[in-house]
Symmetry: C2
Subunit: 221 residues, 2 copies
């Protein structure tokens, strides 16, 4: 099954016609979205403000009217992805380290399944921002801070895996940190191929991943 | 458990002392290895021949004595990774499409487990080259050719998953292409964190991945 042909709407075009200066009028959300797409296509470090100006169809001298800085856009994108992923983990393990938070009363196994399912949903709903986050290598203080926030999320996820092992719900012959890395390695790998217009829906993908990792692929058990 | 401190041997140094021109003498394997490390650290597109000269400790004008071109190094690196990964798939499904090759007589399930196990071993043994391969985005004909070879490998792997489902060894409620993508998404994600000096060995990692994906994480089955 193939998806529909991809369209590249240029939201600024209509607004441009109504401006006397001929400068396309972009709202900030659109500028951010187009910038993230461009960063993912040609790399953040490989994208100049001139490239972004061309992408938006504004002159190189007008780009700063729309964008304070390239880094500002990166910060907004990384914050979007981290905020959404943190919310998923907060709901499962509480917003403070060591607390069960709003998720208390549920088994760690249930909460881990939920966290994986919701992580896939976040990844699909915020695909460009999460893709950018996962490609960050720590080339600036901003990128290092994002990596640090990712590490904190990873630690809390590993803690949840350990709790599910400790309560006897998960096999105990695999190290929790390793299980956590591999689990979310699989989840994160989805950004490499998932397309909203493709044959697999977000919920079906989330179901497939949770089934595969908890129940396994083998038919006879 | 922490690994030993990382060393950065500079193989060229000793040889340099024996050269009258004072030009460090690198063998081609060392040049390639150092180039791959640099590409992985700062991105292939973000690495200039000047950067590589600095990395090797030779002058910018002498770098072409060692390296015909940046793309030549990329080609060698991608070929190393693709050759090794192809060999694993060839051993499991035969070198020609539609043939069982040397692996005939074994169940598809056994061959799939073997392919996953050996893929992890290749990834660990050729970590820098495979890392570079997995980051290729198709920015040149060379990169597009590498992506095409990756796609051919993926198709043959999906065929092996389908064969394992058809023989009744794997659950049949997940699409083979999706299972294959997720399986090797997990395998490939290892390049993001695995370090040879770290606490997890290559064989232990390969065992953990095959156990996790075939048997699942749930304790009670």
């Amino acid at each position: 099954m193939s998806g529909p042909a991809r369209e590249h709407p240029r939201e600024g075009t209509a607004a441009a016609g109504t401006r006397s200066r001929g400068r396309p009028g972009y709202d900030q959300a659109t500028v951010l979205r187009r910038a993230i797409e461009l960063f993912n296509r040609q790399g953040y470090d490989g994208t100049s403000m001139g490239d972004l100006a061309r992408e938006l169809g504004v002159s190189k001298s007008a780009i700063y009217h729309h964008v304070p800085s390239k880094e500002h856009l990166l910060e907004q994108a990384l914050d979007e992805a981290l905020r959404e992923l943190s919310a998923v983990v907060d709901a499962a393990v509480g917003s403070e380290p060591g607390t069960a938070g709003i998720a208390s009363g549920r088994s760690a196994h249930h909460r881990l399944r939920t966290v994986i399912h919701r992580s896939v949903e976040v990844l699909v709903a915020h695909l460009p921002a999460v893709t950018l986050l996962l490609r960050v290598r720590g080339n600036s203080p901003l990128e290092l801070a994002a990596l640090q926030r990712r590490r904190e999320i990873d630690l809390r996820l590993a803690g949840l895996v350990r709790a599910a092992i400790d309560e006897g719900a998960l096999r105990d012959d695999l190290a929790p940190e390793l299980v956590s890395r591999l689990l979310f390695g699989m989840v994160n790998s989805v950004v490499e191929w998932f397309r909203p217009e493709g044959p697999v829906s977000g919920p079906a993908l989330a179901d497939a991943i949770t089934t595969m990792v908890f129940e396994g692929l083998d038919a006879e058990r």
